[in-house]
Symmetry: none
């Protein structure tokens, strides 16, 4: 038990949730380390949604509600931390939800699908095929899911897969706290924010954003600008800590 | 297998070692996340020992060789990554080594003690008592170990325990890649460097530093200055990424 008066209670609880889901087989050991790296960058960004991330979240909503076949790709960490938030976003955006794992086993696929379904997510079913331009099982996805999607939201993604999806001409939206990662650089739109802060905002904007504003956000989307803002924010926070 | 000429070889080997030790029960799942966090900060500092960390390592050696009862407090991550380096430092400094865990179970205490002993560390034994000003089992330590020490080296420490040790009047030296952490701020001396780079340096300086220089390093120790240098280094690296 983490004492509730611990100053970093919220962060430690999330870490325990990741650890608990690793024990249950939902999260991989590599996923735990990746979570830790995210925590560090969240620290640097001030553990809050920046103005720039706020705009990125509106832009993500604009892409999702304007898409023909939007899909949310869910991995172990996303399911562990945000199954209920994925359900809300699915309802607000009408997106399909596909489970897609870097460390893919049938057991983990089933565990994660069950966790999502228990939280009210409708999970796409079917036989995965090797349809992505990647080696081995990382090429696997559903034909009527990620393969045929035009807009994919892939929170906490691997860099290779992000690039592969882009090379297929898709709009790839990622949620990644590290603005220097290959994923962040390769995506069409990177939301530099923590997953459980970002998802409810995207959901809200899917419901609230007027159609004419959506077109404007899509037109003005500039991923480099979002990454630069995040780096500047981190730099400013470091400078502030120096005062 | 990771190729030894990979630019991030050391980091990737350490990550595999942490995952392997987690499977064996030495490293807690929470410890993997903490390791990931460290990786992110190490990336920002350039994965090398800065000039400032070099001075901090000399200062740590000065404190250890001048102490009456120096103790090295070892947790799962430290044992996993650096059991042999702890042995070297124990031999060079004459410090006692006490196993002290945030996620404390008898099984992990025994596993870690065995791992250290297999690597030639002499581990302090005895019955732990609740002697630290902390709640529950986090108060546990050995009376003739950490409780009676004047200088404690606690690599990769929890912020609460660092503060508790300080409140007992001890000199607390930590090795922490996050210069913004509560541990880093609360410690008497923070070495912002990666564990397996820092320990051999401290060991070397324990052997090489002349006594009269030790006094000078102790007198001039300014933890804020070390933290500032690390922050400046990270800020410069972020600014460089923005170019």
């Amino acid at each position: 038990m983490i004492p509730p008066d611990h100053p970093r209670y919220r962060s430690l609880v999330a870490r325990e949730r990741i650890a608990g889901c690793a024990r249950a087989g939902v999260v991989s050991l590599e996923g735990i380390a990746a979570h830790g790296r995210g925590e560090a960058f969240d620290y640097l960004i001030g553990e809050r949604t920046t103005e720039s991330a706020h705009v990125a979240e509106k832009t993500a909503a604009a892409f999702l509600v304007s898409a023909k076949n939007p899909v949310i790709s869910v991995n172990g960490n996303t399911a562990a931390l945000a199954a209920g938030l994925v359900r809300d976003l699915q309802q607000a955006s009408g997106a399909g939800v596909e489970v897609n794992l870097f460390h893919r086993t049938e057991e983990r696929m089933n565990l994660i699908t069950r966790l999502l379904e228990e939280n009210g997510v409708t999970v796409m079913a079917g036989k995965a095929e090797r349809l992505l331009p990647l080696s081995h099982d990382r090429a696997l996805c559903l034909r009527h899911g990620i393969f045929e999607s035009d807009v994919v939201l892939v929170p906490l993604e691997d860099g290779d897969r992000c690039q592969a999806l882009r090379s297929m001409g898709k709009v790839v939206i990622t949620i990644d706290l590290n603005p220097l990662s290959r994923t962040a650089r390769a995506a069409s739109l990177t939301i530099v924010d923590e997953l459980t802060r970002a998802l409810p905002q995207i959901t809200r904007f899917c419901r609230e954003l007027p159609v004419e504003q959506s077109a404007k956000f899509i037109r003005e989307c500039d991923n480099n600008r979002f990454l630069k803002s995040a780096l500047q924010e981190m730099e400013a926070n470091l400078a502030h800590a120096l005062d």
